[in-house]
Amino acid sequence: MEVFRSTLKWVYLLVLAWGLSATFALSHAEDATPELVMVNVLFRHGDRTPVNPYPMDPYRNSSFWSTGWGQLTTVGMKQHYELGLWLRQRYISLLKNDYAKSDVYVQSTDVDRTLMSVESNLAGLFPPRGSRMFEPNLKWQPIPIHTIPEHLDHVLAMKKPCPRYDAEFALARNLPEVKDLEKQYQGLFKYLSLHTGSEVKTIENAEYIHSTLFIETLKNLTLPEWTKPVYPEPLRTIAQWSFALPAYTPELRRLKGGPLVKEWIDHFQKKRAGTLEPDRKMYIYSAHDTTVANILSTLGIFERHCPPYASTVLAELYRLKNTYYVSIVYKNSSEARTLTLPGCSELCELDKFVSLTKSVIPENWEKECHYHLLFSSEDLNDLSISALATSGILSLILLVVLIIGFVRQRQQINDPFRYQTVSTNADA
């Protein structure tokens, strides 16, 4: 009996110890959950009208469209309002439920539809509460959205002129797989030119047609007969390619998507160092399908597709025991999924993220854009070498001639008689 009781005591103690350790382990596991500390949000605008219908478009008449060309529709407003609600749900603990100027910075490209999209989004993300309402019947508050004229914006609109990029893009167009692609679709381009009344010569031209037809089907407009053999396929495939091209090569990525990724990394590193001023938690960027595609390409995670309305890239920063991690999430439908950078895991250690993207981050964008292609290109071809040599020899000859000429002239000036004549003339 005594033995039994003491065994029971031991068992009891053991169970207690196990229970305690399990609780401890569990609480420890909770400690091991990464904590979200900041996020960069990039999205495409919502549903819009066609930017510019093709000349023979039966729906060219503006009466088919409630607002002007390329404008956000009420459907687009709703899409973004809902995305705002979704973001609110996801980041509610990060943002403490309210808009604060020191927490959030919002930027948009300087285009009506992107400005209106982010305004609608913020209406869902930050509805005013109680004392924040300035008009009793209006559950809305103004939140500043910053823009830069498009031709000066190399970060978000990615439209500031960059000669080096243009040169690199011309090179990329000459890559065998791209050339083959355009060759393969020559017949289609002719067909499109014939039926649309606009000249279709490139992948980009074809994407334009695809976009218009896509919008018209969304509006339940019946497409003309001629579209049957080409829409959606193969037009969709070409359109998908058109989103891959602008940041196809590492050089293009560095100049196109690089500046925005650089800005994100800068936010992350400053946040980690505690030097972010103001110490923001959320940066919101409102832009276009091309922006979304270019950023994914730059990060090396673009799967060829057309980024849909309100598609969103989230670049989140997490902290776990003083180590910082980056997570890239892509939401192109109702579902958001984490994308993994090649060579990293879903939660990618910040330093590793930085080193993996290093080659696509420009050190000085402005300078690199105006850097002459001839001297920067890694593979100087024969033609450029011979051009260099020839111009070198020519300038050497010119220099010799100039020196000889200069020396001779100096000898003449030193001639005392000449000097005198000049000075008397000058006195007269």
Binding site: T67, M116, L138, H146, T147, P149
Partner: protein, 416 residues
């Protein structure tokens, strides 16, 4: 609206009056050879005819001439609404963020409401021009870089153009998005005009060192001493006084009791100095052209453009959201030198009105109004130097040709 129709009538009466006198001379020549009865008859027939013409004019005027809106273009430049202080001073009893929800420099709820109301007022004034539904072709909104200014524009738009029934996109939500185009400070050569301009910087430096300002500095040395002693910081320029004035003004507006040392100098004396300070930025004609000229050029371009394409019946509203300096610089460039420091919600309204119907586009004319603060919705009409209250577009353009400056000219002259 009312002002415009009055002025239109006033012109219509003018026109027939001229016709009358010329017809009378013609008639009197005829009568000489006719008898008395004939004379009487002719006079009454002509009288009736003239009366009919007059009546027709008046009738047309009432109908706003073929249903065309009176106003073709409205160009509105306004200062943002009530804000929190952007800075404080060393001994400030309210130098604590707890007094200023929203943060330093933020637009307050009061400010949002002021702007919302200004939007409603502008709606009543330009209803026809704006139309029921929002159109990006009719309304263009631009703002400076500053949060409080972008937010002011947003709140104003909530009052100016709420969604019409057909535009409601969320049931029960009386708001819809309208784009506001802003420009970073360092790139802005229109509203804040803070883009780098070496020539202007040089002129500003000279203005600070001018005899006039040196004399003021000597005259108010006592004020500087008084302020330095009480604020716990060095106050030695008119700009220092201006910043201090701004802070005190906001604190007072928000119901905070100001310290006793302010009693004798606030508001009058300090506002006077603050006004001198803000005027330095547009001290000379050349400086006025640099800081006020770009917006004047823009408004002229917009009016001339509209005037040229009047067959398209394009009617437009342009809103410029800016700062006190934006409003003041433009007022002074327009020739209103004596304007004092614009209050919260101050606005300049420039309107292109259609001339009397049937008289062609050349009779289009410009009207100019100023509202010094958000508390008034009774704009004061001003007349430009060298022009009447009703100023033809041509006269308006030529009266301002010396201050209007195109972006390319601005760039060149700045770097000269």
């Amino acid at each position: 609206m009312r002002d415009s129709s009055q002025s239109a009538e006033y012109r219509y009466h003018d026109q027939p009056a001229m016709t009358t006198s010329s017809q009378f001379t013609l008639t009197s020549n005829l009568i000489k050879h006719k008898n008395q009865r004939m004379k009487c008859f002719t006079v009454s027939v002509l009288g009736i005819a003239i009366f009919a013409i007059l009546l027709a004019y008046v009738a047309f005027a009432d109908k706003d001439g073929d249903g065309k809106p009176d106003i073709k273009v409205a160009y509105v430049i306004f200062r943002h609404g009530d804000r929190n202080p952007t800075e404080s001073y060393a001994t400030d009893p309210y130098n604590d963020i707890k007094y200023w929800p929203g943060g330093w420099g933020a637009l307050t709820n009061k400010g949002k409401l002021q702007m919302y109301k200004l939007g409603k007022y502008l709606r009543s004034r330009y209803a026809e021009l704006l139309g029921e539904t929002y159109s990006s072709e009719r309304l263009l909104v631009r703002s400076s870089y500053a949060d409080r200014v972008i937010m002011s524009a947003g709140a104003l738009l909530a009052g100016l153009q709420p969604p019409s029934t057909s535009e409601i996109w969320l049931p029960g939500f009386n708001w819809h998005p309208i784009p506001i185009h802003s420009t970073p400070r360092s790139l802005d050569q229109l509203i804040t005009v803070k883009k780098k301009c070496p020539r202007y910087d040089k002129e500003l430096k000279e203005a600070y060192q001018s005899e006039e300002i040196s004399k003021i500095n000597t005259d108010i040395a006592d004020l500087y001493r008084h302020l330095s002693a009480n604020t716990g910081q060095n106050v030695s320029t008119v700009l220092d006084v201006e910043f201090l004035f701004n802070t005190l003004e906001i604190e007072e507006a928000n119901g905070h009791k100001l310290p006793d040392w302010t009693k004798e100098i606030y508001p009058e004396k300090m506002k006077e100095i603050a006004t001198i300070s803000v005027k330095i930025f547009s001290q000379t004609p050349s400086m006025k052209r640099f800081v006020g000229g770009p917006l004047i050029n823009d408004m002229i371009e917009k009016m001339v453009e509209n005037h040229k394409h009047s067959l398209d019946q394009k009617h437009e509203v342009f809103l410029i959201a800016g700062h006190d300096m934006t409003v003041l610089n433009v007022m002074r460039a327009l020739g209103f030198d004596e304007t004092s420091k614009p209050d919260i919600g101050a606005a300049i309204l420039i309107e292109l009105h259609a001339g009397p119907p049937g008289l062609g586009e050349s009779t289009d004319f410009v009207k100019l109004f100023y509202m010094n603060s958000s508390s008034t919705t009774d704009p004061i009409q001003l007349s430009l130097n060298g022009c009447d209250e009703i100023c033809s577009l041509d006269s308006f353009v030529s009266a301002l040709s010396h201050v209007a400056i195109k972006p390319s000219e601005w760039e060149t002259e700045c770097n000269n």
